[in-house]
Structure formats: structure tokens, C-alpha cells
Symmetry: C4
Subunit: 246 residues, 4 copies
């Protein structure tokens, strides 16, 4: 019976991790973000996902759910140090993106967003065709570039004359197998806040929810613009290409 009581207390504690009246609580924020992302076409079907780190707690949207219908009770919570689940909804599966979200948190992120945005997918296809499989996406002299931070530990955002570079990694059969190449790419591009995944989508992170979300929006804006520029025969860069391997 003591054991039953302890179990019951553990369940209560786990519930309190995700239930809050505060709209800024991570489990409420994840649900609100996912509804917004569904409207933007970023998490169609059950694709994409979002995770927030608050102190040592990682809040994760589950796998295989309709993102616009998510409730706080669907959220997984993991301990950042032990990587053990503090809360695991019994009927749901954890997201296959979890190791990729953890890689972003290890690099200092407070929030990480994964989308299947069609603009991101088309950009990876266009780069491959025009510059080769190992190239990254590059664009310059678009005002919205100023929506992207200079890099971890650096103050302020990119300038209008800075070239934006987003590395592209190759897709794999299983999402968790992207982790290693994501880490390699972020070592090669230490200032990046995003990794494109060929034929798949993008991972975008930021110091906090505000920065992750606005950087994800700014990048999606730039990818959409870049695709429209290609349709109209307009070049992405005006200076000589400096496309490099990753």
C-alpha cells in the first residue's frame, strides 16, 4: 500500500509537470505553437514537432498525433541530465526527433522546432540540382535575413549585407539517424541556428521560444521567397558564389 501511495504521488507529480493555468507554461506553449504551425502548413499529417527546455526539463510533443488537436496531457517530459522520462503518456509514442532536439539543447537552445515546410524541402532540391549534393543554402541582401541571430554567444542579428548560410544534411530512413550528421554540420557551421534536411524539412532552434519561433518564421519566409525567385529566374546571390562543402 505504501508502494501504491508512492505510485499515486509519482503520477500526480508527473501530471503537475504539464498542467498549468499559465499560458506561458511550456506544455501550453507547445500546444499553441503546434496549432499555429498547422495553420502555416509546417506540421501537416502528423509531421514535424516542437520541444521546449525549461531548466532541466525537456517538454516534447509526441509522435503520430494531429498537431492542431494536441493537449497538454499529450506532452512528454524528460530530465535533461539523466535523459529519463519524467512523464510518458501511456498511449503515445515519444517523438523520433527527440535526439535531434537534445542536440540543439546541448548547444544551448531553449526551444527547437522541426517542420516539413514545403519551401524548405524545395530549397534543398534546388540547391542539389544547381550546386550539388554537398552544398548549403546561401542567400544575401534580403531584409528578412536580419531576423536571424549572428550565432550562439554572439550579440545581435545578421546584417543586410551578411550572407545567410543554412547547411543541408542528407535524409536517412530513420529520423534519429540524422543526429550525427546534424552534429557534424553544426560543428562546421557553429553559428547556425538551423539545419535543412534534404527532401524532408528543417530543424530551427533559438535561445528561447520567441527566438526559435521568429527565426523559424524568418527562414520559412526566405525559403518561400527563394523558390519564387527561382520560378522568376532571379538569382539568390549577386556576388560570386562561395558555395562550400559541409
Amino acid at each position: 500500500m505504501a508502494s501504491d501511495e508512492a505510485n499515486s504521488k509519482a503520477v500526480d507529480d508527473a501530471e503537475q509537470l504539464v498542467q498549468s493555468e499559465d499560458p506561458q507554461h511550456p506544455s501550453n506553449l507547445i500546444c499553441e505553437l503546434c496549432r499555429k504551425f498547422y495553420a502555416l502548413g509546417w506540421v501537416t499529417g502528423t509531421g514535424g514537432g516542437t520541444s521546449i527546455r525549461q531548466h532541466d526539463h525537456i517538454f516534447l510533443a509526441p509522435s503520430g498525433v494531429q498537431k492542431e488537436l494536441m493537449k497538454p496531457s499529450d506532452i512528454f517530459v524528460m530530465d535533461f541530465n539523466t535523459k529519463e522520462y519524467l512523464r510518458k503518456p501511456s498511449v503515445l509514442k515519444p517523438s523520433a526527433c527527440t535526439p535531434l532536439f537534445l542536440a540543439a539543447f546541448t548547444r544551448g537552445a531553449g526551444c527547437c522546432i522541426h517542420t516539413h515546410s514545403q519551401w524548405a524541402v524545395l530549397v534543398t532540391l534546388l540547391v542539389e540540382r544547381d550546386f550539388g549534393q554537398s552544398a548549403c543554402f546561401e542567400i544575401e541582401e534580403i531584409e528578412q535575413i536580419k531576423g536571424i541571430g549572428k550565432g550562439r554567444g554572439k550579440v545581435g542579428n545578421l546584417g543586410y549585407h551578411d550572407r545567410l548560410r543554412i547547411p543541408i544534411i542528407e535524409n536517412t530512413a530513420f529520423e534519429e539517424d540524422l543526429t550525427e550528421s546534424l552534429e557534424v554540420a553544426t560543428e562546421k557551421y557553429p553559428d547556425t541556428y538551423a539545419i535543412l534536411v534534404r527532401r524532408h524539412g528543417i530543424y530551427v532552434w533559438g535561445d528561447n521560444v520567441h527566438k526559435a519561433k521568429t527565426q523559424c518564421e524568418s527562414l520559412d519566409y526566405i525559403f518561400q521567397l527563394a523558390v519564387e525567385m527561382k520560378k522568376l529566374g532571379l538569382p539568390w546571390t549577386t556576388r560570386a558564389s562561395e558555395i562550400s562543402d559541409i
Copy 2:
């Protein structure tokens, strides 16, 4: 008077088939889905439709109504075994899609969605022009393919390296006349959860509402991407074409 009472009871019973406080009740779900589908451009005008099977009851959206304005009282209910209507709103016509929905339910579906999505229509036109009238739509190595199940009775979803094939049938003057060719196509492609109809739209089904809806979204995402790829001169398949007759 006994007869009047019996009639009155029958009407009450029929009403109870579609009136429920439970948002998960099929007649509430159909109305909510149709509002969503209207916003997605799938049921413009009075096009498209949705049907849910619950045990031996088939719930059907009516013909000729504005789908975003539908109410539970507009829903038809049919007995799956006798194919007789248990509830038939007197001022409305049953959907011409009914025999196609029934064909899906006979194949084990729990929900079937019919859309007039423009991306689906454009894909059928592009396949006809590039591969001939008897070809099916084929694409591979797009992450969203993983949103589609492997097939009835099979566990899990398609993989990233699997080629997605959706058969295309020719349109007919009357929607109900599509039934036979839909059945032929599903015999030839026993694992498919969807049939494209040339110059018309698509039928998508799934074991339950969740699966039908997320598969329909995933396919629509893929069709939109495929149309954009064509505009940009990007091929749908990288390996040698294996286009086959249906």
C-alpha cells in the same frame, strides 16, 4: 394513433443517431472535418464529402450543401448490412459518393474522405501528359511518404525509400459510375489507401478518422509539392521509372 406513436418513436430514434454532446460522435466529427476541409480548399462549392463507419452505422455528409455550414441534423445514416437509410433528412439528397464510400468500408475502412483538391487534379493531368492515361502517380524519397500506411492488415507506415504509388482512374459523367473502376484499381493495388480520379479529385480512407484525415493531408502535401517540383523542373522519381498500367 398507435401508428402515429410508432412513427414518432422512429423519428426520435433517428434523431438520436446524429445528436450527441460528444465531440467524438461521428455526426459531430463529420461537421468539424468539413469545416477544416473547406478551409483547406478541398470541398469548395458543394464539392467533396466525408463518411464515417461506426460499427454497423454509416454516417454520410449530404449532397449539395455548403460543407463549412453543415450541422449534425444534415447527416444521413445508413445500415451497413442492409444498405438502408436509418435516417434521411427530408430536404436533402444523399451523396452521389455513397457507393464509393461503401466500397472503402467493405475494404475495412473506418472513414473515407473525398476531396476536389486542385493539387490532386493537377497531378492527374501531369501524369496523363507525361506518362499516359493508364499510369499511376509515383514519387519517392520525400519524408512525408512516411505518413501513409503500408496497406490493410500490414503493420506500420511506408518508409522513406519506398515508392508511393496512387492509382488513377478515369472520371465518369456520374459519380456513382466510378465505383467499379475504383474496385478494379484497389484489387490491382491492394495496399493503397487512396484512388485519384482524373480531372476530379481523390478518395482517401483509413482504419479510423485519425488515419483517414492524416493520410489525406499527407497525400495533399505530396501532390502540392509534386506540382511545385514540376514548375521548377524537378523530377518526381530519381530511379528509372517503373510506371505500370492499372
Copy 3:
């Protein structure tokens, strides 16, 4: 003072023409439709308009207002027989579309919608370039054609194998000057429920609100599809062109 009382009663009567708790009342319907049309991009800026006939009362959206913010108190009411305003909001201007709406009502319509839809405008430009200024828009073998009625006094809708023809008239400096050519075009195409206006938009009507709105949606769907088909090099008609003057 008797005159004051009479005036006050006249104002009260005029107010009652547009104030109703019934969501199906024309002044409530016009506001709801205009909000929907704004979301569809049909009445951007202050463009477009809508009018409903109920018995001998014509309800008209005013000129120059933000259509998504319209209130019943903004609505004009005209007597169909005398063409005199029964209600005229003092701070607003009547719509320049009024004579065109009246032309539709004279032809038996119960509701008429005018949009500046970009798909309609692009279709008029494409027809002019490819077929000449006097041609009408023609398309065939698209399922959504079945959303358009056969014509005034005829039972039922166009079939899948029927060719849809929408006459195009030339734009004029002043909207009211379109009336004569709209009437000429409807005499030449007596079965049409819509007139395209070159570089301007479209007028669509129907026997009632339901039919006008769903026909307008079906046509807009077809115009969008037609523009996308042009981008992809797909022809609008498969049989020999029968383009004719209007």
C-alpha cells in the same frame, strides 16, 4: 411636430429593414458573406460587393468600406420596383455596382456577388492573349463544372462533359458603364450565371444566396485551376476550340 413624428417613424422603419436577430436575414448574411469573401481574397481593399434580393427589397453592401468590418447598419435597402432607396446610411455611398446587381435581379437572381479575384483577372488576360479580345473563357472535363447550373429556368447543373463558357466584357472607367455590355453578354449567353470583366473581376449570381455563393466558389476554383494549368502547359480544352465572339 407631426412631421417630426412621421420622420422619426420613417427612420425607425428603415432601421428595422436591416436589424434582425435572424442570421438568415439578408443584412446579416451580407456581412457574414463579406467576411468570408475577405478571407478568400475576393474583396481586398474596399473592392467587390454583394447584394441580396428578398421579395421587393434589394439589400446592398455600400461602396468604399472594409468588407470584413461591415455591420448591418452599413447596408443600403432599395425598392426593386421604384428603384428608390428605402434606407440610405447618411455617411456612406451606394455601391457603383448597383445597376449591375439590378440587371442580375431583373434576370431572376436572388443574390449577386462581385469579386476582384485575381484568378478571374488572370483568366481574362490569358484569354485575351491566346484567343483575342472578343473571346469568352472556355473549359471542359473538370468535375467542378458540375457546380454550375444549366441556366435560368432549366433544371439541374452542367454535366462533366459540358463545356463551361463564361463571357468576358471589356472594363470601363466607371463601373456603372459596364451595365449595357453585361446585358448584351447575358442576351448572347442566356444560360450564363456569371460575367467576367477584363482586368477587373467577375459578377456571379444565382437563384438564392446558396446558389450564388457556391457558383462563385466553383468558378473561382476553376479559374485558379485554369491559371495553374497554363503555368504547367496544360490545355483548357481537349476538343477543337469553338471560341466564339460575344
Copy 4:
């Protein structure tokens, strides 16, 4: 303590500048407009901004916030004569667009809107490629042109046969550095209500909120149409080009 009381009163006064139950109050209007502009894709990320002048008070959306989440308490208020802030939220930064908004107010505007609309950006790129860096955007014979005013102090709007000209200025590294060239362009085009900024977006103003917003919508409609026309090979002007330097 007298000083504390004075401080406390000053804070109260500042709060009253932005807190009102009236939906037409500038601080409420700015928040409502920004939510609408977010839905239109005009203020993605934290881009774009809006400002309203009411008598001698200038109400300004802050820099770096998610525009769809803005609250009246986020609004800056400046005295138009002294250019000093009457209210300055301590945790927020004033918009870098402020000098550009002030330039519009100096020219008599009551409201000024800055968007990063992709259609505006694409139009500036297309003009540069086809007509050279110093050209302005020109289009004619599109009905929606009638949504734009003739110019400050002039009565009425442009006509269908008038050519719409929107000057384009070159982007700068810092937004405030656009002010001088904006002023030069408005001197050269004294009737314009808008200035395009190459690779950046647009500034649109009007005598009041209604006119600024509907002119911004009409222009965005025209830019989107112009981009689609380019994709379809349709020319923006039918008469001989009169493209001129600014």
C-alpha cells in the same frame, strides 16, 4: 516623496495613453491591425510595423516583437512636436522605422504601415532586372488601381486608365538610413502614398487608418497580380513604357 508621487502620476498618465476600452483607440487598433497583417504574411518573424498619429500623439508598434501577440502595453507613444517619448515600455526597443513613419506624418499621413510582403520584394527585383535599378514600379488598366488615392490634397482616387507609379528606393544596412531617400522619392513623386524598398518591403500611408490599410491591401493585391503576370508572360503596361529615374 513629492518626487515619488510625481513619478507615479507620470507613469499613470503614460499608461492611460495606451489603455482604453474603445476598440477605435490607436493602441487597440495597432494590435488588431498587426494580428491581421500577421495572417496576411506582412509581418513574419518580427518584421514590419505600424504607426498611427492622433492629434500630436504618435503611437508606434515596438521593434522585435511577435506582431500577432502584441498588447496595448507594448505600444510606444511619442509627442509629434518635440519627438520625445511620452511612453516607452522599459523592456522593449523603439522601432527602427520610427523616422520613416515620422516622415509620412510630416507629409500629412494619419497612419503608416510597413510590411515585408514577399510580393512587394519580388516586384522590386523584377523591376531592377527588367528596367534597371533607378526605375519605379508601373502598371495600368487594373481595376484595383482605383483603390489608391490621387495624392495628398487631391480629391478622389486614381482612375482605371491612370498609370500607377510606386517609386523604389535602395535598401540600406540600417532601416533609419532609408529616411533621406524616402524623402527624396516623395519629393519626386509628390502624389505617392507608398515607397517600395528594394529587397525589403514597402511603406504605405494614408490620411487615416482606413485609407492606409485599404491602400496597403490594394497595393499588395496589385503586386501579387504583377508577379503572377510575369510568371505567365503577361506585360504590366500595354502602352509604350515611360519608365523614369527617381
